[in-house]
Amino acid sequence: MSAFEPFAYMACLLFSMFGMLMLDWRHRLFWFADPRRAAVVHTAGVATFLVWDAFGIGFGVFFRGETPYMTGVQLAPELPVEELLFLTFLCWLTMNVHTGSARLLAHRRARPAERALRAEQGEDA
């Protein structure tokens, strides 16, 4: 099993990303709602976070830890490739939760009025 240890974190991240993909696809939340807007928002978010990371790494705020659970592949000094996956996941999660919440809220607000309207028009609720 220890041959798989370096991939443990990446596996968790890929699993989580798959979850985001499924939620997005099933409910048309982000990429499956508007791919062009999603492309801009997602890449802008990840790019900003990477710049933020660069500042943090540059000033010695944080660095890659000592762990057997990462592949060791780095995009830049102290910047593991897993971080890129994590930031992608973070942005996707935020947008999925936000759009999902907003839609649920809109539904709950619409329903009583919509029921009244339908009743008014003589239809079954």
Partner: protein, 159 residues
């Protein structure tokens, strides 16, 4: 303090973007930024951050320079780490909404934006599925209610 100083710049940008999106709502009533959704998103994301950042630090995935952080930690995680989450919650939905250039027109896809219906207006079609968006000034998609809700009876007239 270094970490806080770096974070402050990004957080200020996020707050500005958020404020811009809220102010632009007046011109864009059909694609409003839902502040309640932002609050819910913040609560969910901050909770997840607190849990998983601690796990990641405990497992050794990331380490911090003691001289650069305030030293205030929630468990193992420096509280400054919440800044990334706050940035995402403020800036990303704001940008998403600001980029929404769609105008009311026939055939506009429902379920593509975090709309809040205006008081007094109702969606023309009942669509309990979360993906359906109440778009008060767009005609319903033809055929959709029958596909999704075969029990809702004869189709309503298009408005």
């Amino acid at each position: 303090m270094t970490y806080w100083i770096i974070n402050a710049g990004f957080l200020a940008a996020a707050a500005a973007l958020f404020a811009l999106a809220l102010r632009a709502d007046r011109r864009r009533p059909r694609a409003r930024l839902s502040r309640t959704a932002s609050l819910i998103t913040a609560l969910v994301l901050l909770t997840l951050t607190a849990v998983f950042d601690n796990i990641m630090i405990a497992v050794g995935l990331v380490a911090y320079g003691d001289a650069q952080i305030s030293g205030i930690r929630l468990g193992l995680m420096p509280v400054e780490d919440f800044s990334y989450t706050v940035f995402a919650v403020l800036a990303l939905p704001a940008l998403w909404v600001l980029l929404d250039g769609r105008r009311p027109r026939a055939g506009a896809r429902p379920g593509t934006q975090p709309d809040e219906p205006r008081p007094g207006t109702t969606p023309p079609e009942p669509e309990p599925e979360p993906e359906a968006e109440p778009e008060a000034d767009a005609p319903p998609r033809p055929g959709h209610p029958q596909l999704e809700h075969p029990q809702s009876g004869p189709p309503r007239d298009e408005r």
